[in-house]
Assembly symmetry: C2
Homo-oligomer: 203 residues x 2
């Protein structure tokens, strides 16, 4: 299972060969459904290869992400219910690094933490909390890096977005998502989409 | 009122002198409270000078933002209930530019749209929708620029975060928020805050 995670084929990328998965900790099915959906969609759109909703099952979120992936293309692995400690340990056993996003960590702008993450050349599991996270998350047993996106309180969705944008050096926003049913044709004004089958060369 | 918006003193910034306000359109008080709170906190933490919750009143959000600003410092203007068209027109009358964030717009990575926004040297009102936005938003009467943060569906919170991070060229994450009651001391492991009065030289 974990091998398959780290071998997922991802969108073509020019500079950064490291793959990223996102683990969302502390999701509460009723209360957090929209926010966690945004976090998962952000992971997908910003170049992550997969998303682990740890410890809980929430079919509402899975259904949304699967549907978006079917319509908008690309490969994106969605997994849920895995205990967070298992997911983290498996990731490490398979040679990956763990990055915990927290307002208390090393500032991505003022430190060299991103450079150190890149230099490791390992695939990266980005752990994002929601409520107060267990103290363990900060320990060497769990996180290889504690990274802050500024040291102000804001949003795990915003933090993840900026981390991914900087990690992939912006390239992720130019990715082509293969086998899409819908594609947006970007333009200065109005909305233009292409929904032709011709995206799908094998369809 | 609008003059005061565009003259708000903001955090010291080295490169980019343009000020940014964020206008959130389409907020639904029950359903969107957490997401809109995240959008407003993102605006504040990522260098915007103020936030306009258009068309509706939601004291829950205002209370959160005011409390965060009191504790974590900085100046951040919060305004709500203003009809969006008034806010946009007033912004333009006062010499500002309007940037509409939409998945359909010019891709911030593959186009030169950000450069063109900077070259205008105007203060910027960033308009973020939530539900389906009025067609007007794409017209010249409203938006000077329609900007996409990638052309995949994701999250207005993520889109705003990346827009601001790129707009301010990362400097915003190193900003010092004046007159804070709490400050985080970033570090590799664990949580460290400073809550001394000595931040507040005039206190």
């Amino acid at each position: 299972m974990e091998n398959s995670r780290q071998n997922t084929r991802t969108h073509e990328r020019k500079k950064i060969a490291q793959q990223v998965f996102v683990l969302r900790w502390g999701h509460r099915p009723q209360r957090d459904v929209r926010l966690t959906t945004h976090v998962a969609l952000t992971a997908r759109a910003l170049g992550a290869s997969g998303f682990i909703l740890s410890d809980v099952i929430d079919h509402k979120i899975k259904d949304t992400i699967v549907k978006v992936s079917q319509n908008w293309g690309g490969e994106f692995l969605f997994e849920m219910g895995t205990p967070w400690k298992h997911a983290v340990n498996d990731w490490k056993i398979n040679g990956g690094a763990v990055v915990h996003l927290t307002a208390y960590g090393e500032n991505i702008q003022t430190s060299n933490v991103l450079q150190r993450i890149h230099e490791l050349k390992k695939n990266v599991l980005v752990v994002v909390g929601s409520q107060k996270v267990p103290k363990d998350f900060f320990s060497k047993d769990i996180s290889d890096f504690n990274v802050s996106i500024g040291n102000q309180p804001h949003s795990e969705c915003a933090a993840l977005a900026i981390f991914l944008d900087r990690f992939f050096e912006g390239e992720e926003l130019a990715s082509v998502f293969e086998e899409a049913r819908i594609r947006i044709i970007p333009q200065e004004r109005g909305k233009k989409t292409d929904v032709e089958d011709r995206f799908n060369v094998e369809a």
